[in-house]
Symmetry: C2
Subunit: 212 residues, 2 copies
Amino acid sequence: MARTSAPENSRARATGRRRSGRPGHDADSVLRVAARVFNERGYDGTSMEDLARALGVTKSAIYHHVSGKSELLRQSLEVAMDALFAVTREEGATDGRAIDRLEHVMRGSVRVLVEELPHVTLLLRVRGNTEVEKRALERRRRFDHLIADLVREGVVDGDIRSDVDPAVASRLLFGMVNSIVEWYKPDRGLACEEIADALTRIAFEGLRSTRG
Amino acid sequence: MARTSAPENSRARATGRRRSGRPGHDADSVLRVAARVFNERGYDGTSMEDLARALGVTKSAIYHHVSGKSELLRQSLEVAMDALFAVTREEGATDGRAIDRLEHVMRGSVRVLVEELPHVTLLLRVRGNTEVEKRALERRRRFDHLIADLVREGVVDGDIRSDVDPAVASRLLFGMVNSIVEWYKPDRGLACEEIADALTRIAFEGLRSTRG
DNA sequence: TTGCAAACTGAACGAACGGTCGGTTAGTAA
DNA sequence: TTACTAACCGACCGTTCGTTCAGTTTGCAA
């Protein structure tokens, strides 16, 4: 009797060298699949049985790689936040005028969002229900604060319009950025740069045609 | 022994006339509370026991008002979608230039979003896991399609810049609108119009200062 | 061929889940 | 007082949940 759908198998050839021991999943491939399934059915809506099916193994096999369901969430959220904070430490995010640093962080966030789509998507849906989620939300709040500061600086510099509340503006701005996870499909479709271009055009110059 | 927290009680005085029978919750007040708790803990993360606690009754009492958990979700999503589609039938959304109709729908969506915050928030988090959710997503797709058409028309009219893909633009636009549910707090804070103003300014004129 | 390391199985656990049911309580109106 | 209506309770059901555990399978290297 065949399986209903091919399981996702991979101890990544990324390293090149094969490891000893029985082949199959390792902690990394389990995390990748888990993040994807969590996004499809929601974290609470995903049972360990669902995960096992997607991995092509039994429930109990998962516990060989990870201590439990919430640990999978923890690792996924960590990957996402690490990548986002890495952007804020890049040269373009620390040097130059505030409005340019803001654009750099926006473009970098789009890049991270596309590269780590499942993890970031998961992060953006966290509600703060458990301790793991609360810690991630705390970190996200620090990131948001950083953005709001950039907008405020831009207003002081005279580069950003002063007739909108910087706090509201920064939230709307990253609301736009984050909304990408709702519709972006990695395979068919737009490159990361095209989206970032459209985003920054709308964000800084606006949608209205400027001819005439 | 006292309850740990005051239950939310209300057979709304909205109607004025008291009904006969034992006072307490009715179907409407159960739905309101349910939508709020669903948002706090997520739909899948909310047990009927959680709902009962928030209502100040036992689990079984809920089934006197509604047939089950998924029915509560169904009703909530219906309220949200009905309100959003009502906006698209208003005069300002059917007459005039496309860009003005677009602005009307955006402002109307903000208004609906603020007025029906819990229901709309729930709608925006639906993943399409169950039949009820799939039906809601279908309706939402029709709404999104309507917006994309408005943007396309605006480009043809020459009112909206043509160097961004209308499909991407409309998604980013309503990504910005929808993100409001992530941070808007009804009590303390901004009026609906202030947010709509900031939103339309950024969306149409952009964030960059235009002086000089 | 043997030894080892890593991945995996199948059965089972207590807890929590959504939902059911027969009976009870608290108001309104005659 | 009585009849009626609507809200509610408590015990219980079958199922699914996350997790555990003792043992088995598989490929690689010595």
